[in-house]
Assembly symmetry: C2
Homo-oligomer: 320 residues x 2
């Protein structure tokens, strides 16, 4: 096949898990003639250089990376998107498409739109994909395959630019959905942000308890060290995987999608209190009914093909 | 190898995931001359009969199953263990070892001990292993391999009986730990029971929200159906897997380990409220510090070899 690549030059800003996966995936699918990378952190740049075939050029200077690019993807934590937009605005040619990959869309749109020069097309995006690993070594070309990529073009977005970006994500193997930023932020608050918040909390709670048990065991001269981790196969370990996600990324998500997250947290707390009450009052029927309903939802996830690509192996661990 | 099997006859009471896995595993490892099964539910017995080579004999009558057994394993929901002990007490020969597989140990010990005839050795147990699947078809021989099996022998337990049961679980590939029942129940409340409770709750919260969104979308004539499930790859789906676990089993766990579960729930709620407050007051440093601490705990789980046996495959899903 000798079809022309969809883009002359893609500039990827941020060489973390998503940025490096984008570089691998764009190359594997022949979507760009040239893939330029940038990361503001010299250590990350050194590590990115060590990953064979990651980018065609890797730049210390953001302006050099975006120079001549017809697609610029900000793959930084969402809190940095505004600064990235500001730093590159004088180096963007008319017609360039600018997008991002952040888990919050309303705040990103607001922060970036402000700095977009006339004729540059801002179309924010969010691939619903990731792992708990970070950094340029963690990326792989199949990360976005069969996952959803949500684009949240503003109401006045250029239709041709949106269509090109849709084709780009489809070229990476994603299923593309369009919605407005506010709706995105509400849906993701419940499907992604609240689960991460809960996972971080329970790992913290368990960790505190373990420290107490350890202090007690030293007093009693009984060995109970690391029991919380030891018996984590009973359910806890699934939470530790989620709670190992990138701290900067998630700090930004909770601060920038504050209203929706606090609303979902309020709903969750009400439901948890109702369950706590059922346990305290030995209401077995209420527990049984709830556990039967939630089981049906798992079937929905499996039927929707979103249950993940896990399978038993002898050892090792990976999740997506 | 022609070593004599460790037990003449093992009776497994309850042909669910754990009971059927025990049957497969005992056979695969040559641990019994005869494997007898029982389930009080005729439908489960019919399904168990259809699983090739599951048991040597399958009994509608509990007494027939335990007759002549030197090891009896109650693999029922923990709430049924007392009734099982009562129903079989007149059919147990002196020297028989009786154990169970329940996730709560204090209440099980109390409920079963009462009915144990003189000379029968009760040694409660708990394999920290499972999947979200239930029923006789869900069992497999490797379920317990490299997982922990916790035994909680009472203070006056027969040492030889405990040693035989330790050898049995080691024969299935498990790492065996001994501890007292109360300590078990506290450790499992945080590593297993609370995570399940949280997962059930968040799936409920999401489900309610989705129903609201659907009702709204019908009013607005906009399609938003099943978005919560659709975008579950962002974190939510890990919770749906846990929340698909057996409803009867988990109802019993929460009712029978009530005190420890309510204590852990109280600790969790305090921590969640603190995090909620940090979000509301834009305290990014507190969030970042917490997320960095929890990440280190994940490394502990991986180092302890308890991270699971997941690996990417093209599709399909399984977890352990």
């Amino acid at each position: 096949m000798t079809a022309e690549p969809a883009f002359e030059r893609i500039a990827i800003i941020g060489m973390g898990l998503i940025g490096s996966s984008l570089a691998h995936a764009a190359r594997a699918n022949g979507l760009a003639k040239h893939i330029a990378g940038h990361d503001s952190d010299p250590e990350i740049r050194t590590r990115a250089e060590a990953v064979a075939g990651l980018t065609d050029s890797l730049h210390a200077d953001l302006a050099d990376a975006v120079d001549g690019a017809d697609l610029v993807i900000a793959a930084t934590p969402v809190g940095a998107c505004g600064d990235v937009a500001k730093a590159m605005r004088d180096h963007l040619a008319p017609g360039t498409i600018v997008t991002d990959v952040g888990s919050v869309k309303g705040a990103v749109l607001k922060a970036m739109q402000l700095h977009m020069p006339y004729g540059v097309h801002l179309v924010p995006g969010h691939p619903v994909a990731g792992t708990e690993h970070s950094g340029p070594e963690a990326g792989f070309a199949d990360l976005f395959r069969d996952r959803f990529a949500i684009l949240t073009p503003p109401a006045d977005a250029d239709a041709a630019a949106v269509a090109r970006l849709v084709a780009f994500w489809e070229g990476l193997g994603s299923n593309v959905e369009l919605m407005d930023a506010e709706h995105h932020d509400r849906v993701l608050a419940i499907t992604s942000h609240l689960p991460h918040l809960i996972a971080y909390t329970i790992v913290e709670t368990a960790s505190e308890l373990e420290n107490e048990l350890e202090a007690k065991s030293r007093d009693d001269d009984v060995v109970t060290t690391r029991e919380v981790i030891k018996y984590s196969a009973g359910g806890f370990r699934d939470f530790t995987r989620i709670a190992a996600s990138d701290p900067t990324m998630w700090r930004d998500v909770f601060l920038l999608n504050k209203d929706a997250v606090l609303e979902m947290l309020g709903r969750f707390s009400e439901d948890l209190t109702a369950l706590q009450r059922a346990i305290r009052h030995d209401d077995g029927d209420a527990l049984f009914d709830l556990f039967t309903r939630t089981r049906a939802i798992r079937r929905g996830v499996i039927e929707a093909g979103q249950a993940g690509r896990f399978q038993y192996t002898e050892n090792g661990e990976t999740g997506d």
